[in-house]
């Protein structure tokens, strides 16, 4: 059984705009994609709209692996949203 919730973690300016580094949400249906969820979060408005309104600026990881935004969330426990990494 999948966890009843999904943890979302934010980094860099996504974190700053959203105003938090982590949150838990009720698990969405398993066939929705990262991009779908990003659109739903952006629709909250405010910092969410600012951070997540333009998905081309975002990158994502599911359970600590980089994935394209078109990936279905499935039973992942953790989604991370962030700008392209800038390394060391």
């Amino acid at each position: 059984m999948a966890e009843p919730t999904l943890t979302i973690v934010y980094f860099a300016w996504v974190r700053e705009d959203v105003g938090r580094d982590e949150e838990r949400i009720d698990r969405p249906s398993s066939d929705i994609t990262v991009a779908d969820l990003v659109a739903a979060l952006a629709a909250r408005g405010g910092g969410y709209a600012q951070a997540l309104g333009d998905a081309t600026k975002l990158r994502a990881a599911l359970d600590q692996r980089f994935v394209p935004l078109e990936t279905v969330i499935g039973e992942a426990r953790e989604l991370a949203l962030f700008p392209p990494v800038t390394g060391g």
Binding site: F11, W13, A61, Q64, E78, F82, P84, G87
Partner: protein, 147 residues
């Protein structure tokens, strides 16, 4: 020898190199990245994704061990607030073959600079801040290694 450390504190390069030299391979290559203090920069703030960083760096070090005949690899990456002149990242490799040591060192630093889950925020003397944007150039370089 395989050592990966993601840490806020500075590190002792001489100790890292001595450990690699002691493996008896005959050749040790290293690269050290240091904060540049340009354009009024007073600090670089490195944020990372702890649950991901260690596992990803472990994986790329294993890739390097599979690709080159290495006796040892040491990777240290700092996070937190770093001032100009501070070390950010260190890669050291030891091999019987100097080309293997040098190439794997280049491969690892290219990967760290372009794919490790770190984000950098610049702090300037006038109070301004700016998140560093990813450079397409770095991506192209890391892709040049294939794989």
């Amino acid at each position: 020898m395989k050592r990966v450390s993601i840490q806020p504190q500075d590190f002792d390069i001489a100790a890292e190199l001595a450990a690699l030299e002691a493996l008896g391979g005959g050749g040790v290559a290293s690269f050290t990245g240091v904060v540049r203090g340009e354009g009024g920069l007073i600090a670089l703030e490195l944020e990372h994704y702890p649950a991901m960083t260690q596992a990803q760096v472990d994986r790329i070090v294993e890739d390097a061990l599979g690709r080159w005949p290495l006796l040892g690899v040491s990777v240290i990456h700092r996070f937190g607030r770093l001032e100009p002149g501070a070390r950010i990242v260190f890669v050291g490799t030891a091999s019987r073959h100097r080309t293997a040591a040098l190439e794997s060192c280049a491969f690892l630093i290219d990967w760290l600079k372009s794919h490790a889950p770190f984000w950098k925020k610049e702090h300037f003397g006038d109070g301004a801040t700016a998140w560093v944007e990813a450079r397409a150039e770095d991506d192209a370089k890391a892709k040049g290694w294939g794989g």
